[in-house]
């Protein structure tokens, strides 16, 4: 390696390390987490080994019962046991209580367990329950990813839709993208005239106007969202002003609505659309509009045929940024939205903090990444420049 290329490598090394450690590894880890399935094998190693040789037809052999009792007796404590019960309960509601009951009764049982165990706990006489354990002794599983799409594997091995009362994730993805698309569209429509106006100002006035755009931009998202939380209260300033000016008679529900989510998200994300648009518009100069005018185009044609197409790359760059950021929004909908306005990130947080199901966390994250990537790719095909660099 020449000295020059060694130096270039040294220069990019910090970034390379950061990208690897901070981005590639976590993403890779997440992808693994979405399909990893170690809990049952870890907590019930003997049972898993015996069931591995079982063909799944009829009842499992006596050895399986022995192994189960041995596994449960030897794992009195430990996190692994809890993880296993949660894992099985995720697949089949009620499994957790079956296992816990087994743990309480197992010491009092006598061999042969294939006879004594089903008497105490009926589920152990059902081959379905054994098949559940066998299926989940597999080191990889598709069930998290399937569940994130409202699908599940039947004990028979086929894929079916989950019951309607538990099917929430497809709706969640649809809602997330729907909210993001609207936020993107609203931002574009608000930012375009704003950026245009700023681009027509003198340098001095433009720098003040830019300050008005940038000060919110530099303020924490949490602070801005909290401000909206206060403004949109039922007894808050917005409602009071509307009542006072007799536009409405009674305060209306503003907070915890979709409306509040749109208002706060657009406010937070607007600078991301204004800034690239402004930079594109600033570079335009009057010459193309003058040329269009000299060629006989009235002002509206100058705008539609010349100005708009030439500033569209700025719209595309900003819109891609706004869309990608809003897809991952968490704090803002969580604070000002209702339960029906929550986005995928809310459930990722829920599975992280509340139900501690990292498989679902990983599956939702992975699918969000894949869907967002797909949408950007499609948009890139339809409108060149979306997600790409701004061309001069």
């Amino acid at each position: 390696m020449s000295k020059k290329s060694r130096i270039s490598w040294l220069l990019v090394a910090p970034l390379l390390v950061l990208v690897t450690v901070g981005f590639l590894l976590p993403i890779g880890y997440t992808m693994v987490k979405a399909v990893e399935n170690p809990e049952v094998t870890a907590a019930l190693p003997r049972t898993a080994a015996v069931l591995d040789t079982w063909d799944g037809e009829g009842m499992p052999p006596e050895a399986a019962f022995d192994a189960l009792v041995e596994d449960i007796r030897s794992s009195r404590s430990g996190l692994e046991f809890g993880a296993m019960t949660r894992r099985l309960n995720f697949e089949l509601n009620g499994s957790r209580s079956v296992i816990m009951k087994t743990r309480r009764t197992v010491d009092a049982l006598d061999a042969p367990y294939s006879e004594s165990l089903p008497v105490e706990i009926a589920e152990w006489g059902d081959p379905e329950f054994w098949r559940l354990i066998k299926t989940n002794s597999n080191p990889v599983t598709a069930s998290y990813l399937l569940r994130a799409l409202d699908l599940q594997v039947t004990p028979g091995g086929s894929i079916e839709r989950v019951p309607a009362d538990r099917a929430i994730f497809l709706d969640l993805f649809m809602r997330t993208f729907w909210i993001s698309i609207w936020v993107t569209v609203i931002c574009a429509f608000l930012a375009y005239p704003t950026a245009y106006y700023i681009s027509t100002l003198s340098d001095r006035a433009a720098s003040y106007a830019m300050l008005l755009v940038l000060v919110p931009f530099w303020t924490s998202i949490l602070v801005r969202t909290t401000a909206w939380f206060i403004l949109l209260q039922t007894e808050g300033p917005v409602n009071m002003a509307l009542v006072w000016s007799s536009i409405i008679d009674e305060p209306i529900q503003l907070i915890f609505t979709r409306f509040a989510v749109y208002v706060a998200m657009v406010h937070v994300l607007l600078p991301f659309q204004i800034l690239p648009l402004y930079s594109v518009m600033k570079r335009q100069g009057p010459q193309y509009l003058r040329a269009a005018a000299s060629l006989g185009a009235p002002p509206w044609r100058q705008f539609l045929s010349v100005y708009l197409p030439l500033t569209l790359p700025g719209v595309a760059a900003g819109a891609a940024m706004v869309f990608m950021l809003s897809v991952g929004f968490y704090v803002t909908p969580a604070l000002v939205g209702g339960l029906q306005d929550q986005m995928v990130s809310y459930y990722i947080a829920f599975f992280t903090n509340q139900s501690i199901n990292f498989g679902m966390v990983a599956a939702l994250s992975l699918l969000l990444l894949v869907f967002t990537g797909a949408i950007i790719l499609i948009a890139h095909r339809l409108i060149p420049n979306v997600g790409g660099a701004i061309r001069a």
């Binding site: 009057p286 010459q287 193309y288 003058r290 040329a291 269009a292 005018a293 000299s294 060629l295 006989g296 185009a297 009235p298 002002p299 044609r301 100058q302 045929s305 010349v306 197409p309 030439l310």
Partner: protein
Amino acid sequence: MSSRTEPLVVFDSVDKVYEGGVKVVDNLNLRVEHGEFLTLIGPSGSGKTTTLMMLAGFEAPTKGIIRFDGAPLNDVPTYKRDFGIVFQNYALFPHMTVAENLAFPLRMRRENKAVIAERVRNTLDMVKLSALSDRMPTQLSGGQQQRVALARALVFSPRMVLMDEPLGALDKQLREHMQLEIKRLHEDLGIAMLYVTHDQSEALTMSDRVAVFEQGKIQQIGSPRDVYSRPSNRFVASFMGENNRLDATVAGISEECVTAHVGQGGVAVRAHAVAGGPAAGEQATLMVRPECIQLFHRDGFENNVEGRVTDVIYHGDHVRLCLSVEGIGALVARRPVVTGEPGFAEGDVLPVSWSARDMHAFTIDPSERTEGNA
């Protein structure tokens, strides 16, 4: 509508004052005749571009009226003026192909598709760019972009063509080629053209008339030959072409001839007298072009002296001789290089002469004095 007796364009006492009170155009009266090629030339900030911008409708006069074909133009927006404009940076629409750029003005005029296609093709033929009709402007060279800009300004048969330093971005050879091309188009089409430049060779080769601008005023307007060889004041003489400048005191005036002493009581030289020129006893600037200085004595030339060559500078097609003349000072002469003719060498003492008709005497007014060498 158009009455042939009326000029095509009339600027009637037009002022343009920018914010901050800078008067860039000062009481301008200018006429553009039908079919004429008129060039506005001057240093930057002289008001020539502002004049074109006002005619184009991009700037509004602060005072005065601009008439086109007798009708006031002040309140007509640009897009209704029907002028083809060639911009300094061409302003080709970067998101349209060459053909689409040319079709744009025709589409604005709601021509039908067949007519548009035919006129685009014919116009591209005219500027020899038919092969490039599907290219994007960024894929073209500077010279090709210039032709497209020209074609776009002509394709809709405008009532007039305005050009704002259209050749400024081209290299010298291409510029000279395009000058001839534009001149040919003007002759073929017979359309009036207003051309703004700061390049005097452009102004001289292409124009029917040249208007020399300075400080918002026209200093002289006339044929290229007039403006070059009979400059009406010191500014025009020094702006157009090169000059030997001598400060002198006028001794006497007779019959188209001014006699003046160079410096304070130096050698007497004779210059061409013009109306409004310096009077006897006044300070004057005398100017004579290097190519008018002959290196032999000739009967009929009023000024005959001797000079010593102090430097010879070779320019390929000509040489420039720096001469030192007693009682006058330094003079520069320009001679063509002719094969077989003996060259000049430093230290040669040569006869030096020039005609009084080639030497101009200008008054020095106080404002010009402070301006120094313009």
